[in-house]
């Protein structure tokens, strides 16, 4: 009897243990996170770049006015279209008048300056003329003296020849005749000497006289006739420019200060402000609707990695008539900025598209085949910069074969929006990677796997 009770108690105990086993296993199994797994695949990645761009002017023109004019009114806005003859902005007429007056005064002053320089030029020519005259005078004088010398030498020569011919016939006894001949000879010789001296004096006078004249010329030349000429030309040019400037200002004044458009276009930039003076640049920049166009688009750092000039994009843009144009454009220029972003430009030859129109650009690029590709949502952040995935591995435990997850670090070789090509020592094509889990996983967790 007693044994029966003990047996019954033992039976109850075993039954209780069985019940606990069932409950414990149920609780354990229901507490396990359920994971879905996938295996990596060998695949290539498609990089798609989809951006919005804007049609912009390919060529820009400017409306220029003289600098220094005060702006009274600006009638157009940036992005506004205008037609030929439309008023663009107005210059303050009072200020314009004062500027014209100043221009006039300046012209007058420059003209006076020009006259002074012309006078200086005349003095130089006078000095030169004087020099030439002096040269001529002295040469004349020298010639005269030389002629006198010659006139003096001829009688002497003749007389010497006469004396030479008559010296044998004159003998002793006529000493008075001999004395007269000698005296005459001396006189003739003296005359020749005198003439020679006069010639030397004339030459010396020429020398000294020319020095003086030359100095005068040099003094006149000190003003440098070439500089005078150059300055003259400068002055002339300046006066001419001032006159033209004044002419323009007067024309502007006649138009009451208004600046009109010479052709139709669309304003792209306004470089003037009401109340400020115009700068030495185009006051208004505009583009022609029918001119060259470009499409400009901004790309993110990730998009930029896959782009190079020459990439062919597909563009869709609404045309003026409402229809949508779809064509190919080539990325002609890629301006990379700090931070990795970039701005791209595409030449666009569609005249039916208005400036400022939004365009949709798309580009697809397929890479080479990567050995292991997985979906990006499988990847987790590990630490600060690392990436990892959870892999499922079998392990033998007390409850039999269990599925355990392990965090495996990976290196991402390439990625697009949905897929990533990875590399890891611990991952093969047969490795099961956790695609999703019913709750947050930790390294070493036991899980239930749903294939």
């Amino acid at each position: 009897m007693k044994n029966k009770k003990i047996m019954a108690a033992f039976g109850i105990f075993l039954g209780f243990m069985l019940l606990c086993t069932i409950i414990a296993k149920g609780l354990y199994t229901s507490g396990l996170p359920v994971v879905f797994v996938e295996k990596p695949t060998s695949n290539s990645l498609v990089h798609e770049v989809n951006v919005s761009g804007k049609v912009k002017e390919g060529q820009v023109y400017g409306v220029c006015v003289d600098s220094g004019l005060r702006v009274a009114t600006i009638k157009i806005r940036k992005g506004e279209a205008f037609s030929s003859g439309d008023p663009l902005f107005q210059i303050d007429t009072n200020d314009l008048r004062s500027i014209i007056e100043m221009q006039e005064q300046k012209i007058q002053w420059l003209s006076a300056q020009k006259k002074e320089e012309e006078i200086g030029k005349k003095e130089l020519s006078y000095a030169k003329t004087d020099y030439d005259l002096a040269v001529k005078e002295f040469d004349l004088e020298i010639l005269r003296k030389q002629m006198e010398l010659q006139e003096a030498r001829d009688p002497l020569r003749l007389y010497e020849e006469y004396l030479a011919g008559t010296s044998s016939t004159v003998s002793q006894g006529d000493s008075g005749q001999v004395y007269n001949r000698k005296e005459k000879l001396e006189q003739l010789r003296a005359a020749v000497s005198r003439c020679e001296i006069y010639v030397q004096e004339a030459l010396l006078e020429k020398e000294t006289g020319l020095i003086m004249a030359k100095r005068e010329v040099e003094i006149a030349e000190a003003a440098d006739s070439e500089t005078i000429c150059a300055q003259q030309e400068e002055l002339l040019a300046e006066i001419d420019a001032l006159q033209k400037h004044k002419q323009r200002l007067q024309e502007l004044l006649e138009a009451n200060g208004w600046v009109y458009a010479s052709r139709s276009g669309k304003v792209t930039e306004i470089n003037i402000l009401v109340g400020n003076r115009t700068q030495d640049m185009a006051s208004i920049l505009y583009a022609l609707d029918e001119g060259k166009k470009i499409v400009e688009a901004d790309f993110t750092k990730e998009q930029t990695e896959h782009l190079t000039p020459g990439c062919e994009f597909q563009i869709k843009v609404r045309q003026r008539d409402g229809s949508t144009a779809a064509e190919s454009v080539i990325l002609s220029y890629l301006d990379k900025k700090e931070g990795g972003d970039s701005r791209g430009e595409f030449f666009f030859e569609n005249d039916n598209v208005a400036l400022g129109q939004t365009a949709t650009l798309s580009f697809k690029k397929r890479t080479d085949i990567y050995e292991m590709c997985i979906r990006k949502e499988f990847i987790h952040q590990s630490g600060v910069t690392g990436k990892s995935v959870f892999v499922v591995e079998e392990q033998e435990g007390i409850l039999g074969t269990e599925q355990r997850v392990r965090s495996v670090p990976i290196t991402i070789l390439d990625e697009n929006d949905t897929m990533a090509a990875i590399e890891s020592v611990d991952i093969m094509l047969e490795t099961r990677i956790v695609a999703s889990a019913s709750r947050q996983l930790e390294d070493g967790d036991i899980v239930r796997v749903m294939e």
Binding site: M17, T21, A24, G397, G400
Partner: protein
């Protein structure tokens, strides 16, 4: 007066004996009581008690026989949230049952033949049995390993069950039980025309029930607590018996370890309580048989 004094002395001595024996008995039970108390202590209180031992800071641990905050959280955790423990519990139950059945199937006929029949080489064979019985596991481990490997039974449950089934210890105990049977009864049955199988099955086993059950109880206790064989021959944790789970529980979960020990002990306790009469009977009868055997041989 001298008689009264003698009686008094005897009473005092008896009481003293009683106190000493009871004290000793209680002291033998102290580990079990500690297990029971420890199983009702939660983690925080355990940390306070045995913290000095874990931290190794040369302080003494504290032990309260009655927990400050008794709780059943360890039992709840072990019984409802540790399927591993329960799996190994049933592994142990299954293994032990199969071992006992195997021992009955294999050991009983062997012991019967040793006890009842006389054949050439019986003494030598029995001596061999005795020698094998006293050899520790470490000595026979290698030979068992090689045989199991050759049979392809390594890392299976049979690697633990079969060597235990063919253990010589239960044969010895069964033999002792069968030795207590009167030869005359068996002879009488033979003369009545009963077959040897019938004598064994209908007379030998029922008459030696006490010895058989005591052998089974001892075998159960031995197999329930075995550690070396599973550790050596079982690599898969799913095949382990319960005795190998307890070392897996760390010191940080001392409460749960006490709880697991209590539950492990409970099964042995049930078996012991159920069959203690037979165990006592078996021990007594083996002692009597021993003296009878000696007398017979003399």
């Amino acid at each position: 007066m001298w008689r009264n004094r003698k009686r008094l002395m005897q009473d005092v001595f008896k009481n003293l004996q009683f106190i000493v024996v009871v004290g000793l008995g209680i002291s033998f039970c102290i580990p079990v009581i500690m297990l029971l108390c420890g199983s009702l202590v939660d983690e925080i209180e355990w940390a306070e008690r045995i913290g000095p031992m874990i931290l190794d800071n040369e302080q003494y641990i504290e032990w309260n026989w009655i927990p400050d905050y008794p709780t059943l959280v360890n039992f709840k955790e072990l019984l409802f949230f540790r399927p591993q423990f329960l799996t190994l519990f049933w592994n142990s139950i299954g293994m032990v049952l199969l071992i006992l059945v195997g021992q009955l199937v294999v050991g009983l006929p062997g012991a019967w033949s040793f006890a009842v029949y006389h054949f050439k080489g019986k003494r030598i064979l029995f001596s061999l049995y005795v020698i094998l019985m006293i050899l520790p596991f470490q000595v026979t481990m290698l030979s068992k390993y090689l045989v199991l490997c050759r049979l392809g039974l390594m890392n299976t449950g049979w690697a633990v069950i079969l060597p235990a089934v063919y253990s010589t210890f239960p044969v010895f105990l069964f033999y002792r039980g069968f030795c207590g049977l009167k030869r005359e009864i068996l002879e009488a049955a033979r003369m009545d025309g009963a077959s040897e199988w019938r004598i064994f099955w209908e007379m030998g086993i029922p008459l030696a029930k006490g010895g058989i059950l005591s052998a089974l109880v001892l075998s159960f206790l031995e197999c329930w607590n075995m550690m070396e064989e599973p550790m050596a021959f079982l690599k898969d944790k799913s095949l382990w018996p319960l005795s190998l789970y307890l070392p897996e529980i760390g010191i940080e979960q001392a409460g749960m370890a006490c709880c697991a020990s209590i539950i492990t002990l409970t099964v042995s306790l049930f078996i012991f309580v159920l069959f203690k009469d037979y165990l006592e009977m078996g021990i007594v009868s083996s002692a009597l048989n021993e003296s009878a055997l000696i007398k017979r041989e003399k």
